[in-house]
Symmetry: C2
Subunit: 337 residues, 2 copies
């Protein structure tokens, strides 16, 4: 039997379940699959390719004979188990924030910096969802006309926090529609029929960690440590799909037409840009798909070398599970494993 | 009996009804009030200061003996009836887009350019909602440290389209929660649990009219025709309250602390900025209030002379009815009527 022994850590979570779906849909060359989670979730049975697989508790012995371990169980679990898995001989592709800015760990979006995978020492990091969709959309332009500065304001869905947050959005919405009081749990304030400029923790510089991830991770992935980037990350009452209003300053002017042509050829990108028929990306149409959708491409009216655009993607797929699996696929295709 | 003869055109609409509320709450010096609307709404009875007033059809004779006419019935009605009202001797304060960019018509936010009111020739225009809250928040900073460039991305509520759109958001949300199909009417696509980067019509330059209003109106109000401004205007599933992520470049660096101090003293502004306790403005808490709320004030990480901030206001009050009434109040206070 050909293929790789794969383990999923955090298999019962929102991204963990999407890992299974993506591996199946893409016919990932799996020889075996091991589903791992906390002791609380152990015993849960999930279907993989029409066969029931029982979820096991993650332990120090879980990674014996595992070739590729996909992690999405939070930074704490990754910090603890990723080095154990790597020492056991597995290549870890980690969707947590634990190792993203570690100089020994490549941070990879295959459409942008696949070559960085080669440098891995057992762990490869998957970037934050909002970073991934942005760099997929802007890197093809950057290659042609280096980007000097990026300003991005996001419209991020509840699924970024996980399935419990998606359920809370539904419950809050029902209560609000009935005119009843909403008591937020996973959100800092009511999210139903509201927007909140707080995602992840606040840092001393008054940015949130989510915003700072967009700055630092983009710089690392694009090998541009000095690139000027600013972000405001905002939670909106959407279930799945992150949107971003992006304003770019290039080295030279770039026409919207040129940008559209470049992006039409770019891997992982789908241009949806015909205002006359209200064609532009939005979360409702992007959810459940693999592409990074780009629309509203126009001159930035405030800068002669500027372009503005609107970028939407499914944050659970390209923003998490899909990109992680694509990193593993790239390793395999290029013979780096 | 002291006071002015006031007429409201569009009295049965969302902003029209808010005019009545604001006039009552602020004890506007009214001698009489005439409620005007289309023939379809004529006969409707509304309460003004606990007395029933019957809505009349707007005709060429409606403005006889009217001192101040507040219009919010769309650009077509304003185009037709505002000059008639002005010729009849009324001062028109118009909340439509009809005359905003007319060089003979002052476009006024009292906190910014009250003096412009003096130049009126019978008609004064009230700016677009998203413009008003932005200029109230940035003008106090601009006075101290001239602004060179503004990038703003908005999160705008359904009430910007009117009460029918608020109802459609509710109906769409109920259907979506039941897993039923949503057919949009007033929105170009589903707005429930979605965001849409389309507000008002698209122009040839691929900006929407809403976005271009933020550019041109801001330039006119701030007497800064060359100011570099870019905007992305986005509809979000919120009932009342517009939010804006704003990125400013000043002439000289400005610290967040200095900005907070200036804004703490600024008219019409309330600073809500304590990330440690998740204190920042959001639509749910701003709805129904008069202030322009500012928070998330921080260095713009992408520019040495930059600041980023988050501005929220009730688009029906300060964004429409309140600002219109404040223009009339300013006229009265300064003896310009």
């Amino acid at each position: 039997m050909e293929g790789f022994h794969v383990a999923i850590v955090g298999a019962t979570g929102l991204v963990g379940r999407e890992f299974i779906k993506v591996l199946e849909q893409r016919n990932f060359p799996m020889r075996s699959i091991r589903l791992l989670a906390s002791d609380r979730s152990a015993g849960t049975k999930l279907y993989v390719k029409h066969e029931q697989v029982e979820v096991e508790e993650t332990t120090a012995h879980s990674f014996e004979e595992v070739d590729i371990a996909l992690f999405s169980a939070g930074a704490e679990i990754s910090n603890h188990f990723s080095p154990i898995a790597a020492r056991a001989g597995a290549v870890v592709v980690d969707n947590s924030s634990a190792f993203r800015m570690d100089t020994n760990v490549p941070l990879v979006v295959p459409e942008v910096n696949a070559e960085d995978i080669k440098e891995h020492k057992g762990i490869i990091a998957n970037p934050n969802c909002s970073t991934i969709q942005m760099v997929v959309a802007i890197y093809p332009l950057h290659k042609v006309n280096p980007i000097k500065r990026i300003i991005v304001d996001s419209y991020q869905s509840a699924s970024g926090i996980g399935s419990a947050a998606m359920e809370e959005l539904v419950e809050q919405s029902k209560l609000a529609l009935e005119g009843r009081e909403v008591v937020p749990h996973l959100f800092p304030h009511q999210i139903a029929f509201n927007v909140l400029p707080e995602i992840d923790l606040f840092m001393d510089n008054a940015y949130t960690k989510e915003e700072w991830k967009m700055v630092e991770e983009t710089q690392k992935i694009m090998h541009a440590p000095e690139r000027a980037i600013s972000a405001t990350c905002v939670r909106v009452p959407v279930s799945i799909g992150h949107s971003e209003a992006i304003h770019i300053e290039f080295s030279r002017p770039m026409s919207p037409q040129e940008a559209r042509q470049i992006l039409a050829e770019a891997p992982g990108v789908r241009v949806q840009d015909d205002p006359g028929i209200s064609l532009y990306p939005h979360p409702w149409s992007a959810a459940g798909t693999d592409d990074v959708f780009v629309g509203r491409i126009r001159k930035d009216a405030s800068h002669e070398r500027g372009l503005a655009m609107w970028v939407v993607s499914d944050n659970i797929r390209k923003g998490a599970a899909l990109n992680t699996v694509q990193i593993a696929e790239t390793m395999i295709e290029r013979g780096w494993i």
